[in-house]
Symmetry: C2
Subunit: 490 residues, 2 copies
């Protein structure tokens, strides 16, 4: 476990000897650059920063941490929104931004192999000349790293059709919390043994650090068509979404923005969305031309049948880009209409969309806190933006209450406390809303198996760290059979 007794100067010397002094930062001013990730409300200055350039150096850093008993936190581009890469004050922040090689692009077996610091969009750029791309597309794809995507199992607008990061990573090279380099998965589908690859993707830095990532490439679609439909409100837009999915169409993306989000996007990027709309849907279809053509006509009809007041069809790539510009810049745009805001992230079953949106509106009215909604409607992944002014007495607290209450709504509707931003530092406290003690304990058995010293990103994901020395199954004092009233059996 981390300790205030770690000798930071000695650890810095170990790191310099292992990977070279030019890859270790110990200057306090420089260290401050790394004090937070995309969730800027939490700030911790790390004791040291290491910038390894390959897997061997990364493993050497972890081994030095193990030897010193110092915690370590991995960080890619630092765009995460749950504080998953928040540094540890007594530990080493291992930054992967110098591990940016695209090792291989192999169209013949539809794979790319990259280092973890490679930017998401760079994979698609390297694959496009071969007729392929990398499908998962977080809004931050121009800057976020593949390693961070792996840690958080990142989603994006097109994950409705194509799945999350976990559906696109087939192999990893990983530094375990012991400092071993191991391979999980590979290039072929469905390797034998436990699917530790699957467990690692989304483990938020608690099971080790990915040093090489093998991803699936997806063939560029023959045809892409995008429409933007305006509705009187989110109820009608939600009904249109349900009708599209119920018709058996699987769009590449179905995105919704409500009136407040539209207002913000207009103020920021002048995307020209229909004025006065209570909600807009962006629906994108891709695939073989005959399929897209037939289904696009159906989507247009279903939007009209469900009360669309205006439908625009992107005439060319420039117009499509404009539709998306409003959506992809919406989070930042909210800064134009509110001094402060919380980006919330939850999931609900798509069928619960109208009810949950109504309840969010009620919460907003009750507490006098505006909430803008921008989200992946197709898979029920909400991103409510809770607006407030920290300068107004009590508003921060009320905004946090509303934000927390929204998560309660998601869980009560059969959903989840996070869709794609991860648990990280921010949502660890919410985990017991979804999981029983037994469920969380079972997860922590795996954490302890990988990281018995609790040095890999401690304090994240789990609300109550498990003491790894406890015997599994014997952690509640009594034998489980006795607790279950089965003592007479034995």
């Amino acid at each position: 476990m981390s300790t205030a007794t770690t000798d930071i100067d000695a650890l810095a010397a170990s790191l310099r000897a292992a990977i070279g002094a030019e890859r270790v930062i110990s200057d306090r001013q420089e260290l401050r650059t790394y004090e937070c990730d995309g969730l800027a409300q939490y700030k911790v200055v790390p004791a040291l920063v290491a910038l390894p350039e390959d897997a061997t150096q990364c493993a050497a850093v972890v081994r030095a941490c193990v030897a010193a008993g110092a915690p370590f936190v991995a960080r890619g581009s630092g765009t995460g929104l749950s504080g998953g890469a928040l540094p540890h004050a007594d530990g080493v922040l291992i930054v992967t931004s110098r591990m940016r090689d695209i090792i291989e692009v192999s169209p013949a077996d539809e794979r790319a192999v990259v280092q973890p610091g490679v930017i998401n969009l760079a994979v698609s750029r390297a694959a496009t000349p071969h007729g392929y791309y990398y499908a998962p597309d977080p809004s931050s794809q121009q800057i976020c790293s593949i390693g961070g995507n792996v840690a958080e199992n990142s989603g994006g607008a097109h994950c409705l059709k194509y799945g999350f990061t976990t559906n696109h990573v087939t192999g990893l090279e990983v530094v375990t919390p012991d400092g071993d380099l191991v391979r999980l998965g590979g290039r072929a589908p469905d390797p034998p043994g436990y699917d530790l690859l699957g467990a690692f993707v989304g483990s938020e830095g608690t099971l080790g650090i990915a040093t090489e990532v093998t991803v699936r490439l997806v063939r560029l679609p023959e045809s892409v068509r995008t429409l933007l439909a305006a509705f009187a409100g989110t109820d009608a837009a939600g009904a249109a979404t349900s009708a599209i999915i119920a018709a058996g169409v699987v769009p590449a993306a179905v995105e919704m923005m409500d009136a407040l989000a539209i207002e913000a996007a207009e103020a920021a990027v002048h995307c020209g969305y229909p004025p006065g709309a209570g909600a807009v849907l962006i629906v994108e279809l891709d695939g073989p031309e005959p399929e897209v053509a037939a289904q696009f006509a159906e989507v247009e009809r279903l939007c009209r049948d469900n009360g669309a007041t205006e439908i625009r069809i992107a005439a060319d790539d420039a117009e499509r880009a404009l539709f998306w510009k409003g959506r992809k810049s919406a989070f930042a745009a909210v800064g134009r209409i509110s001094p402060d805001y919380i980006v919330q992230d939850g999931v609900i079953p798509r069928t619960a969309l109208p009810e949950v949106l109504r309840r969010i509106a009620e919460l907003s009215a009750e507490r006098g806190i505006r909430v803008a909604n921008v989200f992946h409607a197709g898979d029920g992944n909400l991103h409510p933006l809770v607006l407030f002014d920290a300068a107004v007495d009590g508003e921060t607290e009320r905004a946090e209450e509303v934000s927390g209450a929204i998560l309660e709504l998601c869980v009560a509707a059969g959903g989840s406390i996070t869709g794609e931003h991860g648990v990280g530092m921010d949502k660890a406290k919410h985990m017991p809303r979804m999981f029983t003690d037994d469920d969380l304990d079972t997860m922590q058995l795996v954490r302890c198996a990988f990281d018995p010293r609790s040095l890999a990103n401690p304090g994240k994901v789990f609300p109550t760290p498990r003491l790894c020395g406890e015997a599994p199954g014997r952690r509640r004092g009594a034998h489980p059979a006795q607790e279950a009233g089965l003592a007479e059996v034995f």
Copy 2:
């Protein structure tokens, strides 16, 4: 660990007290019924059989085993082909065939919830009236159980397009090897925390027993079209397969049979495949009608361009069923042309198909052992059927050598020792061909976390069981940093 000192009579009494005498089998004659699964070359009579009817009973059985220190093995329908459900002579075989309730079919959120003993095809039958089906379709789908599919991460002909069992299970209730009931995953996509669901699917009974399975339902396609193309040999058929995939078409299935497999199928089920064909491909497309129509024409053209000597298009469901009858009965049909045979299961990258098939033919000629090939060509999942006559001196050994050499070919080509049948008892010895000691040790850390007593299906999957008491990472005597020549760092 298992032990000859387990008092079987006392354990039987515990089980009877826990779940009722009518659900416990201890009669030697009755126990023999369970001595093997689909891989009949290994036979072990279990000490006891338990037939729980719900999750609580299943957990009670596991707790009784834990209390007695007795190993336990779960079994569904017993159709597995890797000996994964081979009983333990001193342990309890936990048979799920009385857990056959379809708990819920929910078209609104495209999920079904079933008990583990439910037959694969029964899920589709329950979903069809709602316009849905369950996609993974092992050849044994009329008899294999969903619980067994989860344990082995079963595939099937249509997994090329739709993915394996792991892509279709969103939630599980599981009895851990401690006897706790926990939930992994749920109904929503992408829950937070470790994806233990993914690790559990395909863990072959070593991490616990699934007692409730939530699966994705897939909408019945608007259109299905199937063709059967004959070729001079597997080279031409393989080239056609590659051409189809390279054209960006993702068929629902691309299945290949070579001359010997065709001969066997004809002898058994008179499916009327083109006489004299050196290989046949069955290509099935499904999806929206306009897509299927456009792509089907292209598939037909690509088959002709690559030397198809005859192409038949299924005129109706009856003819489609006939095409598939030959393919799906091929394994059993081989019994018509050979007294004994081994069903092998390996994966290769699709691009290596022609070369590996040629090498298998050379092996066959060199050793005088016939090999029939029936396989999922689209995703490179081979099923060579190695034919022999156990009555002929030395043939069994030569057949086993050829079968093992085929796996070596698969691994050397960048593939895997199993595609969908699992490692089980049969292939544990081959695991070191694919994984380093560190890789296997990392997997076993997870096994030890779940099952520190090694009671859950011991002897399967791993060639060398790990002693769970060993400190992780410290198992090779030296500190890893020293081994890596990094001792000077510390």
